[in-house]
Amino acid sequence: MPLIQYWRVLPRPLRIVAGRLIMIVPQMFGVMLVTFLLVRLLPGDPALLMLGNMATEEQIIALREKLGLNLSVYEQFMQYAGNVMHGDLGVSPFTSNPVVVDLLERAPATLELITYAMLLTILIGVAFAVISVIRPKGAIDYGSRVYGLAAGAIPDFWVGLLLIYFFFYVLGWAPAPFGRVDALVTPPPTVTGFYTIDSLLAGDLNAFFSAVGRLLLPVLTLAIVNAGALMKMTKTVFADAYRSDFIRHQRACGLSERTIVRSALRNSLPPIITLVGFLFGFLLGAAVLVETIFSWGGLGQYAVQAVINSDYAALQGFVLVAAAFILVVYLVVDILYELADPRIKV
């Protein structure tokens, strides 16, 4: 009983965060189980396949030992889980680095890409949704309907290629789609790993503009494809709020349209937060394709290389990190959702 009393005394935000943090332990465990089974699906000897054809006899025996291939499946899983928790995801035979090192090196590139893509997606999606609800049957309402239908049908990799064709080849406005900064510009010293932020911190405007230029097309690609879904769903949620009784009351009281829109948006915030969380998952998947087109050198391109080289240690590591990232995003989303909706009891 006393424990529960302590719980009740805690401030609400703290209770929300603590409650969610406990949930993530079994979830992580489940994710590890799936990535473990993933490599178990390999036909043949996983040790041989993970090491590649160049492996020596001793290496194979050592890895078999480490993977515990002669143990029972349960013991094998415990061993794998133990390795993961010590940050050991194996060694990639192609980069000959530990997979963890490879992933950490490439993570900022992908994070920078999807963060900016997320911001632009929210901006486009929410803006179009709001305008088409408050001005029904207008040009933007009609346009957004067509866009919403089309955006769900367009493959992101194809949009990226079309953007490259128009903005790089035809118009010459965008820089070449090779990497995160111009080949002649030295990347800024790493602080956050985001080139746009690091270059500003280093006071290197040259690198900053180069990094921004390189970001434009991939970010635009991701936003164009994903904003449609966000827009459609935001429209539904926002339209409900906009037509509800309290908005009618506000209008009757003579509040300005601006205030009304703002309070309708505030009330449709919780579902939008959930959608944004899901979008992060989509963006991470889409980043795999877009990074390939723009030679971005992030996690996605690493994963594609792993697929092409049959580099299963790297692939398994990437899948695990991707899922863990999504779990953390969902965690943050759940916490924000509960913070944004005071009606939810904790």
Binding site: A150, A153, F168, Y169
Partner: protein, 280 residues
């Protein structure tokens, strides 16, 4: 009589008409591919590499001189085959599974739901890519992987319906009159729970087409020289920077049309199935 009404209601919608038109075109392409395509879809012609669209090659040729129009027509077979098979398999497994875990709510059902949670906590494309690459890049493996990824979706839809239906009076009535669990599940609950899952079929086929194309694009799907839309776009990707637009543009358009077709049909089906969910 009642069914006729639904079909008419469906056909009255412009989205259904456009969707069905595109679908008809695709079916024609699938059946009559050898007659429509002027060239072989897999034969390279080194002397006709990267030719722009012309009378001889309507949509141009790719880097190895294969006719793009012919390949797009033949690719309809592969792309529709993979996507439709995957969705049918997912539907056939997901629906009974959802019925069972909705009807029996024991430890096993809870475990299956947690398993779905884990599968769905991975980004779909990432998990699909890893699974195909681990299982081997064969056409059938792509279909199997997509089916596995879609099973939780169908099972969840059915389960949600079953959960609300099983508390309804007509189910109690059936139970009182001595109906067995099996009869209640399949005769009384299932027919009433199917609608959302059936509507989802069309939309899922569109998603499957996009995923298949994406997987082939990154090299985790169908391989050369098999004609497949995503693979064709990836072959044109390098030339796009050099201004050769037709190699990647046209197969991409084929993807857009195909996905749009199933999305429109799905939208129309949803509106007919659920008149309260009319367009806002």
């Amino acid at each position: 009589m009642k069914n006729n009404g639904i079909v008419l209601e469906f056909l009255r919608r412009p989205s259904a008409v456009i969707g069905l038109t595109i679908l008809a075109l695709q079916i024609i392409a699938v059946i009559f591919a050898p007659m429509i395509a002027p060239y072989s879809p897999i034969e390279a012609d080194p002397f006709a590499s990267l030719e722009a669209p012309s009378v001889a090659h309507w949509l141009g040729t790719d880097v190895s001189g294969m006719d793009i129009f012919s390949r797009i027509v033949y690719a309809t077979r592969i792309n529709l085959l993979i996507s439709i098979t995957a969705v049918i398999v997912a539907f056939a497994i997901g629906v009974p599974l959802g019925l069972l875990i909705g009807y029996y709510r024991g430890l096993l059902s809870a475990t299956v739901m947690r398993l779905f949670d884990f599968i769905q906590s991975f980004p779909v494309f990432v998990l699909g890519m890893a699974l195909v690459s681990v299982m081997g890049q064969e056409i059938w493996n792509v279909a199997i992987v997509l089916a596995v990824l879609f099973i939780p979706m169908f099972a969840r839809l059915i389960r949600a319906e079953v959960l609300s239906l099983r508390e309804r009076p007509f189910i109690s009535a059936a139970r009182c009159s001595g109906a067995t669990d099996l009869a209640i599940m399949f005769r009384h609950i299932l027919p009433n729970a199917m609608t959302p899952a059936i509507v989802q079929i069309s939309i899922s086929i569109g998603m499957a087409i996009l995923l298949t194309a994406g997987l082939s694009f990154v090299g985790a799907g169908v391989r050369m020289p098999t004609p497949e839309w995503g693979l064709m776009v990836s072959i044109g990707a390098q030339q796009m920077i050099l201004g050769v637009w037709w190699v990647a543009l046209f197969p991409g358009l084929a993807i857009v049309l195909a996905v749009l077709c199933f999305a429109l049909l799905g939208d129309a089906a949803r509106e007919v199935a659920d008149p309260t969910a009319r367009r806002r």
